[in-house]
Symmetry: C2
Subunit: 560 residues, 2 copies
């Protein structure tokens, strides 16, 4: 993680004022007073500028424009609306506690997301408390440059939901109510059992009610817009604009649209909805056909200036657009691939991408929704290279196979594997193996390298997961005929149970050929074994790997 | 899985001829003799037609056109080129054995993929053997309707690689050589250290050499085409067509292109490459920005008629386009969203989607590359619904939140959870909980349901992973004040070690209040414990869940 340096003034403010100053007033939304932000010393104070040279290249664009609900003064600026805590938490099985939500919200603010949708306050008392805490805490931590995330609460289009959402978010400097009702024929008929006229009336009333509570940042979503009649959308959206909506979010709720189809929908809405010029259009793309990121970007190309997304792309069913994919696509391609839409065609966000990796890891950990290794940007393999041709290219020039640096998204490339994210496996070539061995201090002559490489190929065919440095060194030792086994386990026995103290006895043969044994207790049987080994060898033992395998029938735990 | 019925004639053929008839000749590529396919009785014999009504709706389109290397007689037909066994196997850590590759290839043939890229024969002797086995076996199993997958082998653009690839694939009825060289400025300069003229000469020579071996199905890929100068691509592609290439594959090797950018590239190539009308254009999109599926579909919109992809989207770094996403997008949207390109705009493939789920599971298992729960189409959550609003919709009409049936991709929806893929969690509403309880036989009155639902909300707030049927039934029992604890573990002790026999003693208090204890041996300590429990209770014990937790410092294995 790149540490961002703080100016002297702000450092002083940090030490003198270490509590959060809340603002319960939402009156001054358009020009919030910058407040000193305390609590976490490692936080970036400026939300969109960085002094780190590694990421400076991604930040040479314009700065974040002032926040005004229904307007953005820079026509190229794209707001990022994160719904990890609402739609993401709707992932089957991804329940978060209030304190987990608060930690994630803090990271989202470090990323610099413009809007945090913190939850669905009516859903349960815990949901309400979670949203309120985020509004009261993160929604009041104003960065030096005036940035503070908008805190949004979701509500169905009824007064009870909306009042509850408002109670939860109103403590934020910038509170937003997000209300929705379905507009597709199938949803109106089968789910709502309402006529289109009734649906329009409900939507208009909901927006008016939100406004009557004192909220002037109101988002309206016609659910399942991707399968709705565009003519009906023109009507309901125009009426909700009249009622006071400032952001119109267009959900492709079932992930039904092709990128060009969704882009065309955004374009048509901007052209045909009365009053469209007074609101921000937003995308909300589900991923059922794997197209959520593409559809969001196609929306931006066609004039959407808010993109809804989640960390790691989690969400109902196949999830949502991934924040990291959208943000990095705009960071890398925003300058040149968005011409023909509104603005100058040089789109940008104010996301600080070095917080992508830590936020991704936190969300995966807390929700239990692990990313697959080949997840774009944040997957374990996203910066790994296996084939010999790719590894050869990476050693010569990293830009042959990487379009961004891992450091730019906060992933520090390990020292190992040539610093090139290379996994040595069956597809690796002689160059990659030789390079890594030289880095490990083995400068082999050609015959020796060839012999090691031949053996490497044999082993790599069989070994899943590739060969690491230890494996490589073993291959070199094998070739020179010297084995470095120092201690050998010659006996082991362990006892444990519900009561009583876990006890183990271990017998080791030392490098001197002498056997020693000792028994030890521990917090569990494996701990007892390691304590015993520790006593014999006399050095602190670190557990490097631990494997538990079950073998066919019966239940065998071979715990060593 | 839908069982496909066989006609009487083919059933007879099955029983009388149960071995594979190989064809070593590749002379009759254009009209292969249909051979009887034996070996796996559950296999679909017709590659693109189904008698199962559930999937028939996905198959009412035209039938698969005859295979001719550089030509497709139906302008709307899109070939699916699967490279799970080549690019997919290049995923870091995803090494496959030859027998695993063969099993996957058989499933790819059941899916009906047009081309299987079976590997990179020069990479190692095992790679060669793997490709050859697939060519000799799967490449000779001709379906009743004449379908047999093309078997392709990858080779760099040199004679040694190409000769090796040809040796591996030539036993197939339809063998293909796929050769490539990089054409981007960065790759030519940094990796190849060659001038553009040299690169053209190498490519042309490679294609000519492949043709000289007797291969008339030759694919050429300009690696990193997505970052190459289009003018240079026009030149090198025209010259490789002259040399004999029949398929031109356009790789976005680093996942650099936006969907509209990649589509435009395909369009420009089709318009500007001399001889383009005599070859098939193909896409090969990496997923570094999460756009591989979108880019492939955008390629098809612009006239690509071969799409390269992998099962589950595995591959180098962030992987490739997912076969399942591409195929289902074309199945659902091919009829209406591809107008404006060549053909009638009603694109289709001949993939039989009911094999998607089993093939996905096999590839995940053999490669170790697990899909994230929110992976589109094949993720564990892809057909799950958590929020109350969504569950309510699903119970009323499944098409409110699902654009395809899970059955259509071979995923049989379980009996549980209302048959609607519903996970009951904190976002679930009273309707979903009540519905499921009624299905479980609990028809509660309103007061009782409200009490259970209140308790449900409390538990669901805390419990990750949602509540299953057992949990729900416990809630009902809790409300009626009856606990069903029958047996209670009152004592437990286990011993194991390197030598000696794992032994456990278990003490249980029965429903009659009497304590019994017994000791037992097992294949491991957990097995011994279960055997002991078995002896006391006298019924077969099934292990339902097994958790191993490490607790802070030290190493504790609490194995019960």
């Amino acid at each position: 993680m790149a540490a961002l340096s703080l100016g002297a003034a702000s450092t002083a403010a940090f030490s003198s004022n270490n509590k959060i100053i809340s603002s319960r007033s939402s009156a001054s939304l358009k020009s919030p007073v910058a407040r000193v932000r305390g609590t976490i010393p490692t936080t970036a104070l400026s939300s969109s500028m960085s002094t780190d040279p590694v990421i400076a290249e991604l930040y040479k664009r314009k700065s974040r424009p002032d926040y005004i609900p229904g307007r953005i003064d820079d026509p190229d600026y794209v707001r990022i609306f994160d719904t990890t805590l609402r739609d993401g938490e709707q992932s089957p099985g991804a329940t978060l506690t209030s304190s987990e939500k608060l930690e994630i919200a803090r990271n989202l603010a470090k990323l610099g997301v413009d809007i945090i949708e913190a939850g669905f306050p009516i859903a349960s008392p815990d949901d309400f408390a979670g949203v309120k805490q985020i509004a009261d805490v993160v929604g009041n931590e104003v960065f030096e440059d005036g940035y503070v995330p908008v805190i949004a609460g979701l509500s169905r289009a009824n007064e009870k939901d909306i009042a509850r959402a408002w109670d939860a978010v109103k403590g934020a400097v910038r509170p937003r109510i997000h209300t929705f009702i379905a507009t597709s024929e199938i949803h109106m008929r089968s789910k709502l059992n309402k006529t289109p006229d009734e649906v329009v009336a409900i939507a208009v009333n909901a927006v008016k009610y939100a406004k009557s509570l004192g909220c002037d940042d109101i988002e309206f979503s016609p659910e399942d817009a991707g399968r709705s009649d565009p003519e009906f959308l023109y009507r309901i959206l125009a009426e909700t604009i009249d009622a006071g909506a400032t952001t119109l979010n267009i959900p492709d709720t079932t992930g039904w649209n092709m990128p060009w189809e969704f882009g065309e929908l955004i374009k048509k809405l901007r052209e045909n909805v009365r009053g469209a010029e007074n609101v921000i259009f937003s995308t909300h793309c589900q991923n059922d056909l794997g197209l959520a990121t593409a559809n969001s970007l196609s929306g931006a190309l066609n004039g959407a200036r808010q993109l809804e997304c989640t960390i790691n792309g989690i969400g109902e069913r196949a999830g949502n657009a991934s924040l990291e994919e959208i943000v990095m696509a705009l960071a890398l391609k925003g300058d040149e691939q968005f011409v023909g839409g509104p603005g100058t065609g040089k789109l940008f966000t104010a996301i600080n991408p070095v917080y992508i990796t830590p936020t991704s890891k936190m969300v995966a950990e807390y929700t239990g929704m692990k990313c697959q290794p080949h997840k774009a940007i944040v997957g374990a393999n996203a910066f790994q290279h296996e084939s010999g041709i790719h590894q050869d290219g990476m050693i010569k020039d990293k830009s042959t196979y990487e379009i961004m640096t891992p450091e730019s998204i906060g992933l520090m490339r390990g020292e190992s594997q040539s610093g090139a994210g290379i996994v040595l496996g069956k597809h690796s070539g002689r160059n990659a193996v030789g390079t890594r061995l030289r880095e490990l201090g083995y400068d082999l002559d050609l015959d020796k390298l060839n012999a090691v490489f031949a053996r490497f190929k044999e082993v790599a065919e069989k070994k899943k997961g590739g060969l690491d440095d230890d494996d490589l060194e073993s291959l070199v030792s094998d070739q020179s005929g010297s084995m470095n086994e120092l201690w050998k386990v010659t006996g082991l026995q362990a006892t444990t149970g519900l009561s009583g103290i876990p006890t183990a006895t271990v017998k080791l043969m030392g490098p001197d050929g002498v056997e020693r044994y000792v028994s030890s207790t521990g917090t569990g049987p494996v701990d007892a074994v390691y304590k015993a080994i520790d006593q014999i060898i006399g050095v602190e033992v670190t557990l490097e790997s631990y494997a538990m395998n079950s073998v066919n029938e019966g239940i065998e735990v071979s715990f060593l």
